[in-house]
Symmetry: C2
Subunit: 385 residues, 2 copies
């Protein structure tokens, strides 16, 4: 096991009706800006519920944070924050709203060019506004971590940044608030969570036995509960288990002390930035091909994954690895998420564009051994067509 | 799944050589009191290493905190803290030193009778000194939780208390610092951790699928690594996995949203208070009998435990439950920890004494359904003889 530090001070308020506890988490004298996305929270009652839970507070609102939140939109919000001396942000939405709010929290107090926050992967951050979240779409884990991913539309750039000041003060996770989500978004979230776990697990053995068992536990739960979330959308326990999986899949815990990959994510980000394909779908396309191409480097963990997660114990090593990759692909497809670029009308001309963008973003040494080069990504993408 | 809140702000610094990072975690101007136990840290070099990592700090020391730390000893330390305006505590030791330091942290700032802190299970705590820990014996999980157990020698009372202010600011977990521990202490720690996990897992089904998988992952790791820690005492990864298991076994995570038992612990505490038997040993004695007596109420989880943890899939339900309890007993015995009271020269006369003490401490409705009465405990203890 490698040396590590772990620190995660986000307070989780989990369960039915927890929005009503929100006032206990925000100082009374705060000037709050409530941030949200396309406005579904106004139609489904979540907005009203939050407002009712904060009587007497000074609250402004900023809506319109889009999926893959853009620098351009977020900078408008930063203006609102500065002009109105906002001192607490409350993100109500999914990963995009929360990620966007993390950028706003840092950019509002940043002296200098705000894009530098993203360009330096968060290194220039010195201060950030405090913020909390009300999660409506389980997927990214942003509600209990200190990272975010922001897109610069003009340059088609989608990049992550992290900073210890970007942990939410609290996050409210009420599984009933996910009942009205479209099945496609639930499916995207399950795939996203699954691949988060895989990126921290399916590398090479590092004798992190607890981390492995925890990762396998999350994968097994996603496989068991994911399809039920589509067929039984009002099943509380199914939604609760998926929501908690999503949070624990990327709150830092399963990745401590072990190697991490993230090549699939970085390639997926480029596809989304170029073609606006949903994040979860890019992962469903890239992961099976990525595992296939890198099967030699990942052999031991692929075999462990085959056995412990999919119960594949027969056949030779290559057969078990093939079967595990096929099972993974079939799981994504069973959630209604196709796993080939052609399923999304994306042709081979995306390959040079992705390679070019990876080079521009200095993503030329990806993966747990930093040996995933643009050339290797090219061969992965050919298998994704 | 039940509603829950989860908040754990302790920063973990894990790995070889992490003591050298301690200065980054304690404010420079602090007046530190370093607390420790019987003095082994002076013989094995840990004391010196900590002092060298804190150059220029104002540090006093208080040694002699005993296993099952006593109110009597701790109050001497509280005097030292008050007299010298100590404002940061640094616990260097195992669970007893850390638990004792939590009491000191709260008692030093408590107005009124300090024993009330324990008598009210922590409810009267208003303030506490900040403290960090350097863990030398993985077992109790105290290094990453907000609870402690204190013994009042005079009245033979051993009681737990908790408070949100009692999370360590940081804990240093260096597995190499456990190399010189006597095998008996390692074994006690493995058993203690195992039973912590069982108390949060082996109750009744609550559809906390991730919590179950995580608990099973910890149990599987303990079963795999525990015996190796005895036969291969200098194996870094074995010690690292056990240390991380102990911390995660009782940092709150696996117990959220699911029922918890703790009857075995409460009965064990009384045995320790009456006869000074090591905590881990009381658990090894009580647990198998407790599971046997309560097999009907715990049937579904016992069967899940039998299958997922011990791979017992054949035989009828009672046979699988019998086998799982036997495997549990054999595991403790394989660690060198006997599982009968007679192995420790404790006879049947302890039974009325334990029952009497449980009543005195109002521990008359124990377990996940609050139906573990003194009468039921009596039948459990008869099976422990």
């Amino acid at each position: 096991m490698k040396n590590f530090s772990f620190y995660n001070p986000t307070k989780i308020l989990f369960g039915k009706g927890r929005i009503q506890d929100i006032a206990g988490e925000i100082p009374k004298e705060s000037k709050i800006l409530l941030t949200y996305g396309g406005g579904s929270i106004k139609r489904n009652g979540i907005f009203d519920e939050v407002m009712e839970a904060l009587p007497g507070y000074h609250i402004m609102e900023f809506g319109g944070i889009e999926p893959n939140p853009s620098y351009e939109t977020l900078m408008q919000c930063v203006e609102v924050v500065r002009k109105n001396s906002i001192d607490f942000l409350l993100a109500v939405g999914g990963g995009s709203v929360i990620d966007g709010t993390k950028f706003i929290a840092a950019a509002a107090l940043h002296e200098g060019e705000p894009w530098d926050i993203v360009k330096t992967y968060g290194k220039v951050i010195k201060r950030a506004l405090p913020f909390g979240t009300v999660l409506t779409l389980p997927a990214t884990g942003s509600e209990m971590n200190n990272g975010a991913v922001i897109t610069h539309r003009a340059s088609r750039t989608k990049l992550p940044f992290v900073h210890p000041l970007l942990y939410p003060r609290f996050s409210i996770l009420d599984p009933t608030k996910t009942y009205t989500l479209p099945p496609e978004q639930i499916a995207n979230g399950v795939v996203d969570t699954f691949v988060h776990v895989i990126e921290q697990y399916l590398t090479y053995p590092a004798n992190g036995k607890v981390q492995d068992r925890f990762a396998e536990g999350l994968l097994l739960t996603l496989i068991e509960e994911g399809p039920k979330a589509i067929t039984q959308p009002m099943d509380y326990d199914v939604r609760a288990n998926l929501m908690w999986c999503a949070t624990l899949g990327l709150n830092g815990l399963i990745g401590v002390g072990v190697p991490q990959d993230w090549a699939t994510h970085m390639v997926g980000h480029e596809i989304t930035a170029l073609r606006e394909l949903d994040h979860g779908k890019t992962l469903a396309v890239v992961l099976p091909a990525m595992l296939d191409i890198r099967r030699k480097d990942k052999k031991e963990k692929l075999l462990q994954y085959a056995g412990r997660v999919w119960g594949l114990e027969t056949g030779n090593e290559d057969e078990r690895i093939d079967a595990a990759i096929l099972k993974t692909r079939e799981f994504f497809e069973s959630m209604g998420i196709p796993t080939r670029l052609c399923d999304y009308n994306i042709a081979a001309d995306i390959i040079p564009a992705v390679i070019e963008q990876l080079k521009t973003h200095r993503m030329i040494q990806l993966g747990e051994k930093m040996d995933v080069t643009p050339e290797l990504v090219e061969s992965v993408l050919k298998k994704c067509l």
